[in-house]
């Protein structure tokens, strides 16, 4: 259950009930005790304020016990985050936006885009110095901001680009020391390293906590059997992080390299997110060694699921922001009945609603990311941001097209693609790790 910030204070409630009973009593009225009682309280010296001050102090102690140090409310990114954010914003505007339509058709990330992303240091930012990267701290908040900015360019390209640092993050977050040393250094190099998480399966009501893909113990290693859906970078990834259920252990992630016998990769054209090269994986008795199983007994699969949800919410916010800005510009420009269509409440209010819903979603996403970053429980917050992003994203997509009318339906404008992206994003699980 989602945690509320309030610690009930039964003792205080009890004394307040008593006070209340006195205040409302006929007795107090009949004997003219209201005024004196109020005067005590008003002076702040005697019974009333004294009592409440003590109660406040008690509440303070009670409240400070389960709380985290330094909890505060602040929406200002750090200087480093601002820098990364503005860099990614420019990259999204100048490189992603113009490349998106062709990439959508081609079902692949353009080589120039991946090269530029590597140059910008997308991989470097994901890997700590100890493994050849440049990351100072593991920050889901920073990566939520990056996801938001990239998706402002195009959600399909953004997902494809993020799949790679996401794979690095999963190894970093959950891998053993040996696994980190084995897999991470490549991401800090000059080239984009395609790699991808693979959680989703092709079933309605898929539960990411219970993959039907199985990993059976075989010799010292494992034999994987099952199928994964909508895996990004399928035709280029060097390796996949495949979730599979291990008997008596639950779901685990396995590093499966693309040339493993028994692994079949098929391009899977979908409604949206096509630039990320979505593929199906069939695992037909794929054998891997014990070192392929990510992490040890402490492996936290729920965190994999939860962070992915935060990632999809952040991607949705970014693409939604693009829709909002596009709808505002188009609507202000488009004249009907002698004036811009945004002079009409039916259009203007629809746009205002998009802005309100997106801002609410953005704050929920940031909160979940912040809690994840500080090691606080965030399953509830991730779940909420996921539920909200599926609903808000889909609505922003469809309303964005609605503002453009027929122009929104033809591919001359990007909102038709964004409509497809936002609906698709709403069904995803896994696939990203901010």
């Amino acid at each position: 259950m989602y945690v509320l910030p309030v610690v009930p204070n039964r003792l205080l409630e009890g004394s307040l009930r008593l006070l209340n009973a006195f205040a409302g009593s006929e007795l107090a009225e009949r004997y003219g005790l209201h005024e004196p009682a109020e005067q005590w309280l008003q002076r702040g010296t005697k019974l009333g304020a004294e009592l409440l001050s003590r109660a406040a102090a008690r509440a303070r102690r009670a409240a400070s016990a389960p709380t985290e140090p330094g909890a505060r409310f602040d929406l200002t990114p750090t200087e480093d985050q601002e820098l990364v954010r503005s860099t990614m914003r420019r990259f999204a505007e100048e490189a992603l936006r113009p490349a998106a339509e062709a990439a959508d058709d081609a079902l692949a990330l353009p080589a120039e885009v991946t090269a530029q992303a590597a140059e910008l240091g997308l991989g470097l930012l994901a890997v700590p110095e100890a493994y050849g990267g440049a990351a100072e701290a593991r920050s889901p908040v920073t990566w939520a901001l990056i996801a938001e900015e990239l998706a402002r360019g195009d959600l399909g390209l953004a997902w494809g680009l993020l799949a790679s640092p996401s794979a690095a993050h999963l190894v970093l977050d959950h891998g053993t020391e040996a696994q980190r040393e084995r897999w991470l250094p490549a991401f800090g190099g000059d080239a984009f390293v395609p790699a991808a998480p693979a959680l989703l399966e092709r079933r309605p009501l898929f539960d990411p906590r219970a993959p039907t893909t199985r990993a059976a113990r075989k010799g010292g290693g494992y034999r994987l059997r099952g199928a994964k859906a909508l895996v990004p970078l399928g035709r280029s990834a060097r390796f996949f992080l495949v979730s599979a259920t291990v008997r008596d252990e639950g779901p685990r992630l396995f590093v499966v390299e693309r040339d493993r016998p028994g692994l079949t990769i098929e391009s899977e054209p979908a409604m949206g997110l096509r630039a990320a090269d979505p593929c199906s994986l069939s695992l037909d008795d794929v054998e891997v060694g014990p070192e392929a199983k990510l992490g040890d007994e402490g492996f936290d699969h729920q965190r994999v699921v939860d962070l992915a949800r935060v990632g999809w919410a952040a991607l949705t916010v970014g693409q939604g922001q693009a829709v909002l800005e596009y709808a505002i510009a188009y609507g202000n420009d488009r004249v009907a009945f002698g004036e811009p269509i945004t002079n009409r409440q039916s259009v203007a209010f629809l746009i205002a609603d998009l802005a309100i819903e997106l801002e609410g979603l953005r704050l929920m996403t940031w909160r979940a990311a912040d809690r994840a970053e500080r090691g606080r429980p965030f399953t509830g917050e991730a779940h909420l941001s996921r539920a909200q992003s599926a609903r808000v994203g889909t609505r922003v997509g469809t309303d964005g097209v609605q503002v453009l009318g027929g122009a929104g339906f033809v591919r001359e404008h990007p909102v038709e693609r964004w409509y497809r992206h936002l609906r698709t994003a709403g069904v995803m699980e896994g696939g990203v790790c901010p």
């Binding site: 004394s15 702040g44 990311a369």
Partner: protein, 404 residues
């Protein structure tokens, strides 16, 4: 540094407000819902306690007044990010107890917020510790406040007010009423000023109290002004009519009060959602946190959606307050928070009734009351539609003559 939690130093205040709501307001909630127009005398003691506590510094410098525009006076107040955020967080907790009672708290009227926002230092000092109601709406002018007909005429060294005001919250009980009146009906909103009228001033008459759907603990008065004479310095702010300034001098009140209404909405919505969650848990229906979307019972999925909508509302409310504390313009954010939280509160309280069936509508639970109480939040201090106008104009860069 991005961080979205209730600040540690405000947690005692939040916990205290919650205890007051649970121990003091909830027990008398139904009583004053039934006894409409009866004054909740228990509130005197509570208001006195708040007063004493504020003097003693026990509430961390925060009452339930919106006062962020006044310059900081104490070291505690000078710390950034406290007053307005404390106000909305405390208010949300109190309204988890009962919105109607909180609206009736002596000394905490919307008129107080207006005086704090636009009064001169002398006026603030003079009207401190007085309970001030707010009178804007008229029979023929609701959302279109520029159309009000109540007039203020200069007469000797005073003003004379004539007109009729409706929907005046606490209009009968408050010590003062802040009245919007026009200096010149032909000059639109720029000529509208606010005036402070003392209770009992000759020419001011409370005509009747309205019976209402909800917040029945709060009195809602019809007040008539008939040649009502008040002193010259009871005009709040500047008497010059500045055509370009529009509603300036009065509308910044809303930048403070709209996040407060959002806070009321967040409070009552959480009350309803918590209770519905408990009752459904008794019926073995619980959301599967961390599990798939859509796979649980429909009622559990509804609870998740409501929780998400409430969280969005709560964070928008906090953002609007945080901006005010940082002395940043927050008109759009205040309207976003108010628009979202109020409609969500209405949807959640009505949805909670729906999910709980008979228990939702029977008076033995408070669910039905919250569903009645919440509706006003999407209406007063600017309806949903007015908030949308404000947000849309800002987003689209439109003047009010373009987007009407």
């Amino acid at each position: 540094m991005i961080h979205l939690e209730v600040p540690k130093r405000l947690r005692p205040l939040v916990a205290l407000a919650h205890s007051v709501a649970a121990g003091y307001l909830r027990p008398i909630s139904r009583k004053y819902d039934r006894a409409e127009h009866a004054y909740p005398k228990e509130l005197d003691l509570l208001a006195a306690a708040f007063g004493g506590l504020n003097e003693a510094g026990g509430l961390g410098g925060a009452g339930v007044r919106g006062e962020s525009k006044r310059p900081p006076e104490t070291a505690r107040e000078r710390r950034p990010g406290s007053a307005q955020l404390a106000t909305v967080l405390g208010l949300a907790e109190l309204c988890w107890g009962d919105v109607g009672l909180v609206l009736s708290l002596p000394g905490q009227g919307l008129g107080n917020a207006a005086i704090a926002a636009v009064g001169t230092a002398a006026q603030k000092a003079r009207f401190a510790d007085r309970w001030a109601a707010m009178a804007i709406t008229e029979p023929e002018a609701g959302s279109d406040a520029a159309a009000i007909r109540t007039t203020a005429r200069k007469d000797g060294d005073g003003w004379v007010l004539d007109g009729e005001k409706i929907y005046v919250t606490c209009g009968e009980r408050a010590d003062l009423v802040v009245v919007w009146a026009t200096l010149d009906p032909g000059r639109g909103r720029a000529a509208i000023k606010s005036f402070v009228v003392e209770k009992g001033t000759p020419g001011m008459e409370v005509v009747r109290l309205d019976r209402k759907m909800g917040i029945r603990a709060s009195d809602t008065a019809v007040i008539r002004f008939d040649g009502c004479r008040i002193p010259a310095d009871h005009l709040l702010g500047d008497e010059a009519i500045a055509e370009q300034a529009g509603f300036s001098g009065v509308k910044q009140t809303f930048d403070n009060t709209r996040p407060m209404v959002a806070a009321m909405a967040v409070g009552v919505a959480r009350a309803a959602l918590e209770r519905a969650t408990e009752l459904l848990a008794d019926a073995e229906v619980r959301p599967d946190w961390g599990g798939p979307l859509h796979a649980g019972p429909a009622a559990a999925e509804r609870l998740v959606d409501m929780e998400a909508e409430l969280e969005a509302s709560r964070l928008l409310m906090m953002k609007a307050a945080w901006m005010a504390d940082a002395r940043r313009p927050n008109s759009m954010e205040a309207s976003m928070a108010k628009a979202k939280a109020a409609r969500v509160a209405n949807a959640i309280t009505l949805g909670a009734v729906e999910l709980c069936g008979a228990a939702g509508v029977e008076e033995r639970e408070l669910l039905e009351k919250w569903a009645r109480d919440s509706k006003i939040l999407d209406i007063f201090e600017g309806t949903q539609q007015i908030q949308m106008l404000i947000v849309a104009r800002r987003l689209l860069g439109k003047r009010s003559s373009e987007l009407r």
